[in-house]
Symmetry: C2
Subunit: 128 residues, 2 copies
DNA sequence: TCAATATTTCTAGAACAATAGAAATATGAA
DNA sequence: TTCATATTTCTATTGTTCTAGAAATATTGA
């Protein structure tokens, strides 16, 4: 995950229909759902849906796989958690959102401070 | 944090200059920085910067406070961590990103699963 | 009061994104 | 083959966002 990836992911998620599509795909989990089902559930015409799905796909948030006549879309959870991690690590402060890898479980753990007002620091990182 | 907040936050963060501004404000932490300093550091004309700052402000990502002739901008860390939390809780799965409140430290803790492929579930939540 | 500084608001043009009809493509089934 | 189904691509239109010049506003200091 880099800045460019994050920018296009934010752009993809900033549109109401696309955020709905993504959240619906999250519900469907690893099995995913065909485009038609998504369009039906969200009442979006097939061509408009296709436009948004390709946007999500280009951004890396979803994966597509043809199965017969249908194309199955899946939320890419690896990408999405990488985005969350990028936000905590690269768009925040370690005293507000601390990221560590838990070797035992293999999980990445993000601790969000209770009190989110960070210490006052100079841009050079010196505490005042 | 609700869907509407998240949508406008994503829109605000999806523009390169605005993401740069936000990350620069993160560096300045609780003391923030005046608009002029940001514009100078990013080589963005004052009026263009003002447009982006008001976008970030409307979205809730930054706070503004006049101090003399300058207006000091600060990243809103409370809002930003709420956004991260919203993403984990409302745009992901509990088997991929689990959120819990640690009563002892007062922190919210997000555990990102090592293996991000979730179980295959029906939209009704039944495991297959 | 006047000038200087910091920032915003107004404005208009250029670039980009969203929508949906129509046509095209890919697949499977008769 | 031919037809039906699922989805995408093409196209045009409409709406939105970005940029930066010019003018306006707010604050301070002389």
């Amino acid at each position: 995950m880099n800045t460019e990836n994050a920018l296009s992911a934010f752009a993809a998620l900033s549109q109401e229909t696309r955020l709905q599509i993504f959240r619906l795909l999250v519900e469907y989990g690893g099995s995913g759902a065909p485009a038609g089902t998504l369009g039906e559930r969200l009442s979006v015409p097939a061509n408009t849906l296709s436009f948004h799905l390709s946007h999500l796909s280009r951004a890396g948030l979803v994966q597509a796989e043809r199965r017969g006549r249908s194309i199955i879309y899946r939320a890419d959870f690896t990408f999405f958690t990488a985005l969350i991690r990028f936000m905590a690590e690269n768009c925040c402060r370690s005293d507000v959102a601390q990221v560590r890898d838990d070797a035992q479980s293999g999980c990445a753990v993000i601790e969000l401070a209770a009190c989110c007002a960070p210490a006052t620091l100079t841009p050079q990182g010196d505490k005042i």
